[in-house]
């Protein structure tokens, strides 16, 4: 039974799934870091105005 193509597709699917999850974690992390940096900058400006 030659199912090499099938096995390759399963392999791509498994690693693709893991990659999508890692990518979503990195994307969420970048977005949160941007928010955090913005907040810190605003906080700095606020303390400078006082």
């Amino acid at each position: 039974m030659d199912n090499l193509g099938y096995l390759f597709a399963v392999n791509v699917f498994v690693w693709g799934g893991i990659f999508v999850y890692v990518f979503s974690l990195i994307r969420r992390s970048h977005s949160l870091k941007k928010d955090l940096d913005l907040l810190k900058e605003t906080l700095k400006k606020d303390s400078g105005n006082e």
Partner: protein, 236 residues
Amino acid sequence: MSDASQETDNPGYGLMGLTAAAVLAALGAIFIYVPTERTEGVVQRIMYFHVPSAWIAFFAFFIVFLCSILYLWKKEREWDIYAHASAEIGIVFCSLVLITGPLWAKPIWGVWWVWDARLTSTLVLWLIYVAYLMLRAQSEPGSTRAKYAAVIGIVGFLDIPLIHFSVLWWRTFHPDPKFITTQGIGTGNETSMNITLMVALAAFTLLYFLLMSLRVRLERMKDEIDRIRKERLYSH
């Protein structure tokens, strides 16, 4: 207190490199090293993804169970963070188990799915932890949410022994354990198959720890943002 934004600058390159090397070694073992199984052919190699995914899902839910107990006992946010992160990773790997299983079953059994004890109890496990994540997503952050989530995290884990012993207690379609058997560890497989499985298990375990470090860092950043927002609100 640790600075979450500084932590993101150091995503653990050592662990990343080690995981990448282990994953490459596992792929090499699965596609080059291990011989093709006589009766199932190349499709049997799906097991080297399916079994480690199941191991990581069970391990992740065990960490949820452990951290949930520690949260209820000590009431420290840190344990809630670990439980939440591990549950999410557990769901990812449990989903892979539920997908790779039918992908193996179709060419071997002739059907994608049968409602036998092993498959059904694994689906129930997936549903329990999806409910866990839905509860967390739909309720306000705080100790009440963490407490309810911890209870689901503990109760949900009780399904895992049921999954493990289901193939021994009931007549199921699912194959009996080949790696850990009543005769000992690794007695049901050839040595090359055991080595490949162990390399794949090691790679997936490292992957779990890498994903945990990324996911925990994310949760800490959220906490840091909440803390700064609250401080700003009270200072005005």
